[in-house]
Symmetry: C2
Subunit: 319 residues, 2 copies
């Protein structure tokens, strides 16, 4: 069995971040020392992904590593924060599996690289596979996008497409293993909308990332803002291939309730719509208006039969 130290140095910090990443003392001391950018706020969040609950136990190792970081980075995206650093708490089953670990680390590091996030600390313990990732990002004072800012008259808009996470999970559970399938890619390798978050600073009145499903996360925004909304469910931008995979009703349910999409849901003053669309078009990311904020309690325009909270896995959110 590897020691914790061997595991960390071999798989996770073969090439430790340095001064260029704002790290003046790296992994291997009691703490890592970081250099925050003067004048910025520090945005922090932690999310834990547990095998069998947040992802299938037989998910590809690289996808497990990617997703564990992606779900945390998605919280930075929703604030409009720039990703800087992360720490990982890895709980591993007793039996070492070097090939699995190498793939897991590769998936994690690849997303670090594409998002400019430096892995600056972590620990390894033994137990049921689980990955806790703390992320730290930066945002100028007053520019963070928060949940509580939605106002009556604002548009509701979403980036990208919905239902892909739920669709991919449904296919995985049916035995689909072609990881090149667009829906499986959506589920196994979701892309946190960090660049979109930066682009939407100063435009959106409120933002949240869609991790628990559109209606559930919309509910968080409405509650925090003390407002209601009318949704236009026929306008939801559906992930490509979703109707084929799940049927009409299944796709509709996945769009409304499916989790793990990691798109951004925005409150957007109407006068900012064109500019927001233009900035996201530069990222090749569509922005779709799906409703409007009002002062009526709750959500109108869609029949909600109880609170169908998204169960990541095993899920009941997808028929």
């Amino acid at each position: 069995m590897h020691s914790e130290f061997e595991l960390i140095t071999r798989f996770f910090t073969p090439d430790p971040p340095g001064a260029e990443a704002g790290v003046t003392l790296g992994v291997g001391d009691d703490c890592t020392l970081l250099v925050p950018t003067p004048g910025q706020r520090l945005a922090v969040s932690v999310d834990t992904s547990v095998a069998g609950i947040h992802f299938p136990e037989d998910a590809p190792a690289a996808a497990v590593g990617h997703r564990a970081l992606a779900v945390s980075l998605s919280d930075l995206a929703a604030m409009g924060a720039r990703a800087r650093w992360c720490l990982m708490s890895l709980t591993l089953p007793a039996a070492d599996d070097d090939a699995w670990l190498a793939d897991f680390a590769r998936g994690f590091h690849a997303l670090c690289d594409t998002t400019g996030t430096a892995l600056v600390g972590g620990d390894v313990t033994r137990g049921t596979l689980s990955i806790g990732v703390t992320v730290m990002g930066e945002v100028p004072p007053g520019q963070a996008m928060v949940r509580r800012g939605a106002r009556p008259g604002d548009l509701l808009a979403v980036t990208g497409a919905l239902g892909g996470g739920a669709g991919g999970l449904a296919l995985w559970r049916r035995g689909e293993r072609d990881t090149g399938h667009p829906l499986l890619k959506r589920y196994l390798h979701p892309l946190p909308r960090l660049e979109a978050g930066l682009a939407l600073r100063g435009l959106a009145s409120a933002a949240i990332d869609i991790s628990d499903g559109l209606l559930a996360d919309l509910g968080h925004v409405l509650e925090a803002s003390g407002v209601g909304a009318e949704l236009m469910p026929d306008r939801l931008p559906m992930a490509a291939g979703l109707v084929t995979a799940l049927g009409e009703e299944g796709a509709r349910q996945a769009g409304l309730h499916g989790g793990d999409d990691y798109e951004l849901l925005l409150g957007l003053p109407p006068e900012h719509l064109d500019e927001a669309r233009a900035r996201l078009a530069a990222l090749a990311l569509p922005l779709t208006v799906i409703g409007r904020v009002n002062d009526q309690p709750g959500v109108q325009g869609v029949a909600v039969t109880g609170e169908r909270g998204w169960q990541h896995f095993p899920g009941e959110g997808v028929p």
Copy 2:
């Protein structure tokens, strides 16, 4: 069963930190927004405590909460960093136990209060009881105490007393349940040496917290510094009551190999000894010289039969 949100708001953020704690947006959004002190380095570390590995499954809930935070704060202490913020990843067994949770939260919050640490984020998942705590602290540039700074001629010194953690665990395993027993207090409610760490800035050449046992942690300092040391094992400051509890040889082993003491081990230029002692005396904390750094490889003065790494629990480090 409580929802994650209910758990967090009811037990962990009934009184959320505010601007006085450097928090401009608190728990309940995608991220928490913090205000770093201008010009300071940010010191970060994460430690995970797993039931049955890092603490006995029947340990008192308040002690579990206290210890989970203490082991992370101890890393800040060893750097000479001032504690500011923490985040908690809590994995709980499926069955809710409100009394247990309330005690756990009380133990955690009490140490937050005494150390000036604000709980600014966290998440709750279901599984084997485990607590991951990320801590963030601050230290002026160039003033952090690191492992690699020990030089030949430096004294080796330790704060407080050794072996108490191992002694307390041994008593607990024998069925001792008087939590007022000094050794049980040492094990169940270790105090991270944060004030000592601040006081030793500018004096110590190297520092580490003793979590894995004196010899193991000394080894980390020597390796990082590229030096050796001569230890004077008869000079080790033993925790009160340790010989009575474990016998002469058991106490000696606990002092050399026992983990969970969370004292600081220092490299100290001889000319700084008096000042260091004076500053720690103001904290009612003794400082004991236990050896000297030299340029011989390894540790002299003590017969080390192999690497007896401290197993937190169930431990083989205590006879």
